[in-house]
């Protein structure tokens, strides 16, 4: 693979195949921990660590793992990395650990990670897999940071509160507390996806369907019509 090919593995995750805004994967952490920019950044980096680690190990073991137990093996490897991140954050960043709470353990079922394992790491060599993990992780982190920034600025009139680079907006700014709630998360994500569509002059994705789901291959479709379409190979 040429140098340009390697670069592509990294950059595709940033914009063109951005897992959050284009792929619509990993919605739960995207909505749950982005009410503060700091938490969004922490979640993004933690996920990136797990993604790079699991891509690396799965790519190394791609010839050893038999197809029949692929899924359980991947899940165990991913959960192992998640627990390591959990230990490290608990020891070195206890405040972030506390504010991420259960969602830290739930990185295990973030479909971006399982999706990259199924679609990329199990078919590619180690270096491209690491680059793919870095790129996808960075794309996820950037999207989360964008959502977190919008929600924190509109909801709390601060940005990156609790860090040395914290910015406090003038006191007169209205604080729209709706943006700190789950409803605000849904709304911000919807508006950002629409904005991304306008900027790239592309239509926003038509729907969050099984197409984006890493389990799609095993799933036979959710409605009778979909099942028919799948059988005919039109989906």
């Amino acid at each position: 693979m040429s140098g340009k090919g390697y670069l592509h593995e990294f950059t595709k995750g940033l914009l063109k195949e951005n897992p959050t805004l284009v792929g619509l994967l990993g919605m739960c952490p995207t909505l749950a921990v982005t009410s503060q920019a700091v938490n969004a950044l922490g979640m993004g980096l933690a996920t990136m660590f797990v993604l790079v680690g699991s891509n690396l190990v799965i790519s190394l073991l791609r010839k050893v793992i038999p197809a029949t137990v692929k899924l359980p093996c991947y899940i165990v490897i991913i959960a192992g990395f998640v627990t390591i991140v959990d230990f490290l954050l608990h020891g070195f960043a206890p405040e972030l650990h506390e504010s991420l709470g259960t969602f830290l353990s739930l990185i295990t079922v973030n479909c971006i990670i399982l999706g990259r394992a199924e679609m990329f790491a199990c078919k590619n060599r180690v270096l491209p897999s690491i680059l793919d993990g870095l790129g996808m992780g960075a794309g996820f982190t950037l999207s989360l940071l964008a959502i977190g920034s919008v929600r924190e600025i509109l909801g709390c009139s601060t940005w990156m509160a609790g860090t040395p680079i914290a910015v406090h907006l003038p006191a007169g700014m209205p604080q729209l507390s709706i943006f700190t709630s789950t409803a605000g998360g849904f709304m911000t994500l919807g508006l950002l996806i629409a904005l991304a569509g306008v900027l790239t002059r592309k239509k926003p994705p038509a729907e969050v369907g099984c197409g984006a789901c890493p389990m799609a291959k095993r799933c036979t479709g959710c409605t009778p019509e979909e099942r028919e379409a799948r059988k005919e190979g039109t989906v």
């Binding site: 919605m27 353990s105 789950t182 409803a183 998360g185």
Partner: protein, 193 residues
């Protein structure tokens, strides 16, 4: 707090005030992916209630065992592996023993392994310190809350499809903004408990 009070408050919390989908943002992928039609919402909901209840019943004793061995930190690994294996077992057993039920629910089962609400409810059961009975009850109630959110949202979505949405909001953005409004309406329940 008496046991009865706990049972009722778990029920109300997981359906209304603390709905996993609409206020805790768990299980969003199936919420957005499967809520297009009412019948698929009901099917997915039933499958999730079943798997959540069983997952809670299976993981609770496992955690007690891990605790006795001093290996609590293995809970994420153990739980997700057990849920994944359990879902596959149920799929195989259902296909052989109860074909009609399999036709109705089987298609949703593989989707559930990566549904973060299932792993989330088992971990929250441990964090909240519920006993076995309450843990299973909590899981079933959370599943019912999930179904409620899906069913309500499928109704909203059928209206969006008929509505005239601005070009840039067509598709996912409109769905997400509608989800925001549904979630907002549920926030009116906060304060009940």
């Amino acid at each position: 707090m008496t046991t009865l009070q706990t049972i009722v408050s778990i029920f109300l919390a997981s359906l209304l005030t603390d709905n996993y989908v609409l206020s805790r943002s768990l299980g969003i992928c199936p919420f957005l992916g499967v809520s297009k039609k009412l019948d698929s919402s009901l099917g997915m909901g039933a499958a999730v209630i079943f798997v959540m209840g069983c997952a809670a019943a299976v993981t609770w004793p496992i955690y007690q065992l891990l605790q006795r061995l001093g290996l609590e930190y293995l809970k994420t690994v153990a739980f997700i592996l057990i849920i994944a294996l359990f879902v596959q077992l149920v799929e195989i057993a259902m296909k052989k023993l109860l074909p009609p039920l399999y036709r109705a629910l089987g298609v949703y089962l593989p989707l559930i392994t990566t549904n973060c609400a299932v792993l989330g409810v088992t971990i929250n059961n441990i964090d909240d310190g519920y006993g076995f009975g309450l843990a299973v009850w909590n899981a079933v109630c959370v599943g019912m809350g999930f179904t409620l959110a899906l069913v309500i949202f499928s109704g909203v979505r059928s209206r969006i499809e008929a509505a005239d949405v601005p070009e840039m909001f067509k598709g996912v953005p409109a769905t997400l903004v509608a989800a925001a409004i549904v979630s907002m309406s549920f926030s009116a329940f906060s304060g009940m408990i």
